[in-house]
Structures are given as C-alpha cells and as structure tokens.
Symmetry: C2
Subunit: 180 residues, 2 copies
C-alpha cells in the first residue's frame, strides 16, 4: 500500500466482523511498532496482546460507557492491544511527558500497518488505568497509554473534517500566514 | 512509496545537502500532518515553518551544544519546522499529557511523508522552550513539543538496533511470552 493512502485513509474503526486476525498479520503490525523512532532509541513501549474473552471484557469495563468502541474491545474485535510505556525511558521534558509521544509513535506505526493489512484499529485514550493494570498485571513503573481493538472492519468509517492548513500552519512566526 | 518502506527505513537525518525543498513537497508533508488522528479530532497541533537564517540560528541556540542535529537546524537544512500543541485540546488523562501523543502523531505523519518525498527529518525533543517561544512568538497557552530540520539528506544513516519483539510484546498479561 502506498504510504499516502495509509496516512490519509486510515480511520478509527469501532465495528468489527468476526473474522480472525492471521498470526502473520499480527506479527507484521507488531514489527511495524517495534521499529518506531524514540528518544535516544529507548523504545519505552510494551504491547500486551489480549484475546481472552474475559480479559477483553475487563478492558471494556475500564472504558466509559459512552465510548462507542467499548463493544469492539469487549466483544467483537478478536484482539485488543494494550500500549504501556516506561515513564523513565523517554523522560520528562520541562514537564512534558515525552513517553506519551514515543509510545504514541509506536502505536501509530502499528495502526498504519494494520490498515495496510486490511485490519481496523481505534485509539482508546480514556480508561480507568487501575482496571487495565489489574486485568493485564501491568507493573507500577509503567503507565498504560492507550488500547486498541484489532480486527477486520465491518465497515470503513467516513473521513472526519480537518482544519485548513492555513489554520494550523504559520510562516516564521505564530500567526503569520503560510503562503505556499 | 510502500508504507512498510517508510515505517522501517526512515532514519533521523542530521546532515543535509544545500538543495532547496520544493514548495510542492513542503505542502505534501504538511498535508500528511494535517490528516493525523487526534483525541476527539481536536487537532491540537500547529506548525511553524522557519526558513529565515537568523531565526534558524535562534532555534539552534535553544538546543544543547552536544546535540549533533544543531548544525542542521541552524545552518544546513533549508527549513526547520516547529511543532506546537494546545495543551487544553487533547487534555490530561490521569496526569498523562495526551497532547504530547496527538502532536507527536502529526509530526510523525509529516516525517513519514518527508521520507517518501526524499527529504530528511530529525526529532529534536530537548531544547530551551523559552528561546523557541521568543524566536517564533509562540503564545503561552501552547507548548513547544519538538522541532525538526527538513531538507535533502547528505547521507542516509544506518539503522539503529531494536529490542526483540519478545522483549516488548506480551501475551494476555505482563511478562507472559508472546508466542506467534
């Protein structure tokens, strides 16, 4: 798949078919995460691959009831991947949690590869961290950064609107319009 | 370019040729950042495209002298892009800075697209934020997350080692080996 197709067309998938995820594809998406860049090559990320139905239900129970991806995590997607990060590895930059950035890059690489393999993913960033910790025995020195379901999409969502480039891009200084 | 080539072969480029960056390529990489996913589609990111030699020197002066990308930022790369984020947009998740993750994803999309366009980039995560703020008039409600030089690589660096998948991937629970 062309890089731009993945960057532009990947969507958050919240409805999954019951098809299994072939091991070969699972390995490919994990390998894509493995090679992400990171602060001083610290690779602060860890991935927990969950397939057990009871554990998936525990993960779903960590999410707000209003989250439309809850059923995907608890029931329909055959796999849920939990993203954890060593907070010491990437360090704190003037109060900015750099491990959030590094771990996020790895998960994004995983999601882009998943899209290339015909699989769906969805960022889940809000959950009761203690419940996830208990479900997957995550040690206290690691934070749980995100979860994603992984499976065959039941349907491909429509794109969501984006701000214009002129709203998010400046030339030289803040507020100076970017003329291309 | 194939998605896997970009995910696996992109490197941090610290030495640049003097060739200019065509406007068309600059637009493509900014558009790749624009379409990144984000918390509730908040798109907390802002990009400042710097070409002015004095301003580039100011940005280089914000970096530790030991950073081998300092000369690329201050002199050799024709463009430096400053990544800023609205800290309110993506919110704080139990003390985890989610804007770091969201802004990071956008910059990674930019870097992957840059690689596809034959351009080099390099994550710069440690700098004196006040100096960058002054150089580019970044308002106080935004944090400066990262910088990158953007230009034609003088050489493509070698890959750096990665942890084995078995070290970073668990099955079901922390510490349980992942058998694929």
């Amino acid at each position: 798949m062309d890089i731009y197709e993945a960057l532009k067309e990947r969507r958050s998938v919240r409805k999954y078919a019951s098809d299994p995820v072939p091991e070969e594809k699972l390995n490919k998406v994990l390998e894509a995460a493995q090679v992400a860049p990171s602060w001083k090559n610290k690779q602060c990320w860890r991935f927990i691959v969950v397939r057990n139905p009871e554990r998936k239900e525990q993960l779903a129970a960590s999410m707000p009831e209003s989250n439309p991806a809850r059923r995907a995590v608890g029931e329909t997607a055959p796999i849920v991947i939990v993203l954890c990060a060593d907070t010491e590895g990437s360090g704190d930059k003037d109060g900015k949690d750099y491990y959030m950035l590094d771990a996020g890059l790895a998960f994004q690489q995983l999601m882009l590869a998943a899209y290339a393999e015909g699989l769906g993913t969805c960022w889940v960033g809000l959950f009761d961290e203690e419940k996830v910790r208990e479900a997957c025995a995550v040690p206290s020195e690691f934070r749980v950064v995100a979860l994603t379901p992984l499976g065959v999409p039941a349907k491909q969502p429509s794109p969501r609107p984006r701000k214009d480039l002129s709203e998010i891009t400046y030339s030289e200084e803040w507020g100076h319009s970017f003329i291309s």
